[in-house]
């Protein structure tokens, strides 16, 4: 039988120059449910599809507010995201305490990027199995950063990661030109539509399985779930009858 000898740890290259453990970690991201992020000139929006392990269980949290000015959306191992988000919370508080200043998103992103990268280069460690979208507003304006288990980070105008996220990215690419000048409400709708596009035919966005996070200039990062997003879902998908039906499923 074929056996891969080069994926036992994250410090060994394969003869093709690949590090399998890192690639496996990136596969873990693709297993996670989809999250989408978009920025305009004034706002940054995260939208996420939540999954419940079974019908009777609660939904897995997908958006984590970190500081008053930003939050993250995760795709992949939630437990790894917990470690990273705790780290980010600590670093953000440290910035406020030490410098009396909200940490720059570019800075916190590169910090966790550095941290994740060292995990891919030390024997006995494993990469984080989670991808993050980091969105919010800092001194330089609204930002969206993508973080991958390899330690790679990118600043994005719009981004989607997680299962079937290609469909969301296709939507984002098609509408890219509109994002910059979009209003807060328009941006939220774009995020929800992108999210919707990545769903399989038999699934709908409901107030139970959808999370929104919005940050803006002069506006703290705020997470919206449950009834708070009902009107957005309604107005975004009002032309689709089944969207309305999905709405009824609450209570």
């Amino acid at each position: 039988m074929f056996r891969n000898n080069y994926d036992n740890d994250s410090v060994t290259f394969s003869p093709q120059g690949r590090i399998f453990q890192v690639e496996y970690a990136q596969e873990a991201v693709k297993q996670g449910s989809v999250v989408v992020g978009i920025v305009s000139k004034t706002h940054a929006v995260l939208a996420a599809l939540k999954r419940n392990a079974e019908e009777l269980s609660s939904y897995q949290k997908k958006i984590i507010p970190i500081d008053t000015h930003y939050g993250v959306a995760l795709a992949g191992l939630a437990s790894d995201a917990r470690v990273l988000s705790n780290l980010m919370k600590q670093q953000s508080l440290a910035s406020r305490l030490t410098y009396d200043r909200p940490i720059l998103l570019s800075e916190i992103t590169s910090r966790i990027g550095d941290r994740a990268q060292t995990n891919t280069q030390q024997y006995g460690k494993r990469p984080y199995g989670v991808g993050l979208l980091i969105a919010g507003v800092d001194a330089k304006g609204p930002h969206l950063f993508e973080f991958q288990p390899s330690g790679v980070t990118h600043e994005m105008m719009a981004c989607g990661i997680g299962a079937r996220s290609q469909m969301a990215r296709t939507y984002l690419e098609r509408n890219l030109d509109e994002f910059q000048g979009a209003s807060r409400e328009e941006l939220i709708k774009h995020a929800l539509r992108a999210l919707k596009d990545s769903l399989s035919q038999d699934k709908e966005l409901t107030i139970d399985n959808t999370s929104l996070g919005v940050g803006g200039v002069e506006e703290d990062f705020q997470m919206y779930e449950g009834q708070d997003i009902a009107s957005w879902l309604e107005t975004t998908f009002e032309n689709k009858p089944e969207g309305g039906e999905a709405m009824e499923t609450d209570s």
Binding site: Y99, S110, K140
Partner: protein
């Protein structure tokens, strides 16, 4: 933080009694064997810088400090730059220990590198809000105050008084202080060291409160600071006339490190009283029109000399202070006389210096001058605080000429060595 860096952070002797140094190293007054002593870190500064002063103006801030690093009272290094710029928006001014300043400066340099790597220190004129992303002076001040507080909590303080001046995140002028205890405060004008006593009141004259900052131009602020640096050089024995001055505003930091004090005038030094041998003009009269005592009263204040010149032919001043009051009253009287003044001063001294009675009569006139009290003199022989200093063979200063009999009033002074604190004087009509 006063002008004595050694006293910074110590309990005040007048409040808590003398500090018990027995646990310290013997060099610092300790009495115990080295092996039994606890770890002790810096107990006093070694090479020190004196005042730093700063003032806000409408669009920015001016900060200055001289270039001297003293080793005790020795002016050891004369080219030490105590203003350190940081990232185009801030300047930190250091008073106190110079080696600790150099340590903090290294912290600032690594902080700058870290900020640049984090991508927050792009060019100020960059379009993507680069200047807003720069650390503001308020951020820097918070950081430095945490460093100072951490070190004092380790019982290993950085022996400095800092002023952080610059623009905050919103590009508004910012000025705040941090010291070796981690104490912080902020005001539109600040000064450390000797400047806290001498320059701060002068700065407050110009900018009494935050509201007044709006009315101050850059030129006015710079002029005020330069004037304060001059006053500090006049009166601070640990200062020098070469200094650094920085102006921070929207166009960045303009730091000059080789400024020199201009237009110094030491005339005021002649008027200083209270440190050494004194001169006492007691009675003054307009020579053009020798006045009678009654005419003289016109010029006199209600109290003071006029009270002294009542009908009592003989008076006893029970302490030097009363004697001084008469002097001050006379000074005020002269101020009210029409100019130009030609003044005449007369004394009739009777001296009892334990060597028998002697009698001296002086009567001098001074050339027309405004600064009569600077030069009027009974040759340093009568001075409050220096009693009794009268000698029998007073020499008439050559610059003075005798103008004859005194009309008006004469005061007789009796100085007695047997009772040092009594001065007797008598008015003769």
């Amino acid at each position: 933080m006063n002008h004595l860096p050694h006293a910074w952070g110590r309990p005040r002797d007048d409040v808590y009694g003398h500090y018990n140094p027995s646990y310290l190293p013997t060099s610092l007054g300790g009495t115990q064997h080295i092996s039994s002593m606890p770890t002790s870190h810096t107990q006093s500064p070694i090479v020190t810088g004196t005042s730093v002063i700063a003032i806000k103006f409408k669009t920015g801030i001016v900060i200055a400090a001289d270039n001297l690093a003293s080793y005790g009272s020795l002016a050891r290094f004369t080219d030490v730059k105590r203003l350190k710029p940081f990232n185009k928006k801030c300047v930190v001014g250091f008073g106190g220990d110079v080696s600790d300043m150099q340590y903090i400066d290294r912290l600032l340099m690594s902080l700058d590198v870290q900020q640049n790597y984090a991508g927050s220190a792009k060019e100020m004129d960059e379009e993507d809000g680069g200047s807003k992303a720069l650390m503001g002076a308020n951020n820097l001040h918070t950081y430095l105050s945490k460093v100072m507080y951490k070190r004092r909590s380790d019982f290993n303080p950085l022996w400095n008084a800092l002023l952080v001046a610059g623009l905050d995140e919103k590009d508004a002028p910012f000025l705040a202080s941090a010291d070796l205890l981690g104490t912080t405060y902020s005001a539109p004008t600040l000064a450390t060291g000797f400047g806290a006593h001498l320059a701060q009141p002068l700065l407050r004259n110009v900018v009494p409160d935050e509201k007044a900052v709006e009315g101050i131009t850059r030129e006015k602020a710079v002029e005020t600071v330069r004037e304060c640096m001059k006053v500090l050089f006049y009166r601070d024995a640990r200062s020098m006339p070469e200094y650094s001055i920085a102006v921070i505003d929207g166009s960045g930091v303009e730091l000059k490190t080789d400024e020199k004090l201009e237009n110094q005038s030491w005339a005021f030094a002649e008027t200083i009283r209270g440190y050494g041998t004194q001169t006492v003009p007691v009675f003054v009269e307009d020579q053009d029109q020798i006045r009678t005592l009654d005419e003289m009263r016109e010029y006199l204040p209600e109290d003071g000399l006029s009270a002294a010149m009542d009908d009592h032919p003989f008076r006893t001043a029970t302490d030097p202070g009363e004697f001084r009051d008469i002097y001050l009253a006379a000074a005020q009287a002269v101020e009210r006389m029409p100019k130009p003044r030609q003044l005449e001063i007369s004394f009739d001294l009777q001296v009892d210096a334990g060597m028998g009675q002697g009698e001296h009569e002086f009567s001098y006139a001074q050339g027309a001058t405004e600064s009569w009290y600077q030069e009027s003199s009974v040759d340093s022989k009568v001075g409050w605080g220096m009693f009794p200093t009268v000698e029998m063979d007073d020499q008439v200063p050559k610059a003075w000429k005798k103008v004859g009999e005194v009309k008006g009033a004469t005061i007789e002074l009796y100085l007695s060595e047997q009772n040092e604190h009594y001065i007797n004087y008598r008015l003769i009509h």
